[in-house]
Point group: C2
Chain length 453, copies 2
């Protein structure tokens, strides 16, 4: 029998996260104050995050210890399995060897609890009572609800209205773990009311939902805020994925030639890629790291590297990142997550420096990839995860043409059990190709008056 699954024991859960900032040739530029546009220090983040997370946000230490309490909850689903994709290889008739790391075994079904649990832990330790957050497809809101439940914290989720309406069951899942969920924009915040006044029928965006959750935290001393991607400490927590994957690849006697992950704000990409990128940066290995994004929200492949706000209303610091402009709202036709207008600063700097790559995929290519994967491997991937599969299929087909037996590693960041509406739409021919025009991108960027990075 061929060995398909590469597993680790509970005692092999890594005890440190990897902070790539320590090894970057060019460290990210500093954030700027939204008003003065002067560089700001960690203090500016104090209303939103507990001290330990702010320390991690600005840390340049290479290794950061994972608290036992966090590893203990990780053990509910970690270590996650890695699979050799024999079925997909056969279906593609490729000489490439394809592996995938499967994060869908977590209780909420994605990689998001890796950071949710850590953030809930540090907030609890700092005496915080309530955490607010935003969620798009619902993966992040579910993960944080689950994590808050474990530490006895209240959880308040602002869910992009489009998803709130299309994915009612994600909301029930959050309720089951004790969270309260509001469609965003809501009338509970200044930010929400402002947007609703302008456009009462808006389908919302992650940027707007972030503004709402941030405002709640900034105006209530018992409440802090949590972000599911983009920020340095979030990317840091996700490196548990790549740390495990390194051990698993070792057990398989392989080293990947290319590591591929879907890209929204950067956390699942960073999670699997950074520990491998470390080998390229510090040991001269040649491992390509490729981020997969939707053609309908293509900040890495078609955005601009400049300072921009993390939210829509402009409450957050200005961050140096690849962006489509903070007012960008992806067309509602785009199914699946990965709808955020910008990219995390670390990933942006790495892309700027040519140390990582990016690919964009059309809606239809993504669903074709997801279904091919489901039929070959069993697991039905979330549309987000299917973006990475689409990139891997392109690579495997290139290997076939070139006769190369490269090793491909995919981060399969979540299952599609809550995305059946999207698959249903695809089967009904309701999912259409969608690529932004250059004019649309230019117009969104033209609204910005922020400095180039």
């Amino acid at each position: 029998m061929q060995q398909r699954k590469i597993t680790l024991s509970e005692s092999e859960i890594p005890d440190q996260w990897y902070n790539i900032v320590a090894d970057m040739p060019n460290r990210p530029l500093p954030p700027l104050h939204p008003g003065t546009r002067e560089p700001i220090g960690p203090d500016a983040l104090a209303p939103l995050f507990p001290e330990e997370l702010i320390k991690q946000e600005v840390s340049t230490e290479r290794w950061i210890d994972i608290p036992d309490e966090v590893r203990n909850i990780y053990s509910l689903w970690r270590p996650t399995p890695m699979y050799r994709a024999y079925g997909l290889e056969k279906a593609l008739d490729t000489p490439a060897r394809i592996y995938y790391k499967y994060e869908g075994v977590s209780p909420s079904g994605s990689h998001k609890p890796n950071t949710a649990v850590a953030q809930a832990y540090y907030n609890k330790a700092a005496g915080v009572k309530r955490i607010t957050t935003e969620t798009g497809a619902g993966q992040w809101g579910s993960a944080l609800s689950f994590a808050c439940q474990h530490f006895g914290l209240e959880c308040e989720v602002y869910m992009v209205r489009l998803s709130y309406e299309h994915k009612p069951y994600r909301k029930v899942m959050m309720n089951t773990w004790g969270a309260t969920v509001y469609p965003s924009p809501s009338d509970r915040t200044e930010a929400g009311r402002k947007v609703l006044a302008k456009d009462p029928d808006t389908t919302g965006s992650l940027g707007i939902a972030i503004s709402e959750a941030v405002e709640r935290a900034a105006t209530d001393p018992d409440t802090k805020y949590a972000l599911g991607s983009v920020l340095n400490h979030v990317l840091l927590h996700q490196t548990i994925i790549g740390q495990e994957a390194l051990l698993q690849m070792e057990k398989a006697g392989e080293l990947p030639d290319v590591v591929i992950a879907p890209f929204g704000g950067g956390s699942n990409f960073a999670g699997i890629a950074f520990p491998f990128l470390r080998l390229s940066l510090t040991q001269g290995k040649q491992i390509r790291c490729v981020a997969s994004e939707p053609a309908s929200c293509p900040k890495l492949t078609r955005g601009q590297f400049r300072y921009d706000f993390g939210d829509t209303v402009g409450m957050t610091p200005l961050l140096p990142m690849y962006t489509l402009g903070h007012n960008f709202v992806p067309a509602p036709i785009h199914a699946g997550g990965l709808r955020y207008h910008g990219a995390g600063v670390i990933v942006s700097q790495l892309l700027k420096d040519g140390l990582i790559e990016a690919r964009a995929h059309d809606n239809l290519e993504v669903f074709e990839a997801g279904i091919a994967f489901a039929r070959a491997e069993g697991i039905i991937p979330a549309p987000e995860a299917a973006h990475g599969i689409a990139t891997a299929i392109r690579e495997a087909e290139r290997c076939k043409e070139a006769g190369e037996d490269k090793v491909i590693l995919i981060n399969l960041c979540g299952h599609g059990n809550f995305d059946m509406k999207a698959y249903q739409d695809y089967f009904a021919g309701k999912i259409e190709s969608h690529e932004l025009t250059t004019a649309e991108i230019e117009s969104s960027l033209a609204e910005l008056d922020t400095p180039l990075a």
Copy 2:
């Protein structure tokens, strides 16, 4: 760090199924011909099942080899993890040590693929082109769709209309794996048309859907039929669960005092319980095995042990089993699977002989148990699975009162990702208590003119 998860490596996937018939003090009575009511032999099953499965159906061998091709597909999700439920123990403040075996990691999210893959394999090997089946909550239909896809078989699913309407996403899941799904009763079969003529607004039942799928197989030489529970070979395939669980309990240095599983037709109960029951039957161990059923479909606790049909129309052989009568249709108010009117013959004989026990739980108790489990352990269980949790909670509370540190093992047969509508209804106060009256049960049984077993 406490060890929470007990894992096995891929090479530890058992290579034999356990056939409890070899060790039963009283073997099941023979099936009877539906017309002549005389005992029938294996030949009678030939129109419906391939020869190898019929051999397994009547086998008295203790161990049956698992083909490599089946183990190879099992390795997509097996061995499944076992967990110590530290969170639940703490929430219940019980001295009992609670373990659960988690079958929700399979691609379709339940234990059902354990037999679906085996059945698809033997059908493929026999040159069959198409398999028909019925499905209630959708777990079984999904599992068979997944399995047929792997072996290149067509799959035709008759889905109980109530579930078809309440769970459209289960249908999409089956479509994603290439199956065709019809709401039952349908106008594609004599059986379906007959029921529709009598009651055009029926919400359907498993019994009716079985009649339809059986009719299709009986009338088309390229088509065979597959059943997801009840039959001996189905229970046999599920013993992979208990075989793994035995190894895992050994690794944990424990032996359960009580093994608990939800009960629909018997396959997930048999799957985990029989390998432990073997130790009681052959080695004098004292391991209680308890089946958990809904109070709204209580064949084990309130049904009658007699010959009855497996389907509604009366096409199947008469089987000696605990039954509520083959015309029994559970109230639509009952959420979750476990809606079948009868119990498998092996389990029925074991219950008759006092070798296993059964408990019935009200709807509300089941959802309370499911939510308590989700909050304590993370995983949101399928309502079916929550029945087993409800029994375990009663046991753990009894242990607390008695100050006993018993070891409880639960078969957590599936996740609730496709059951959020039921949880939503629960939160909205729409799930009501529901217990059958004695008159209702007596009236359903009074319609039978079949022999007592």
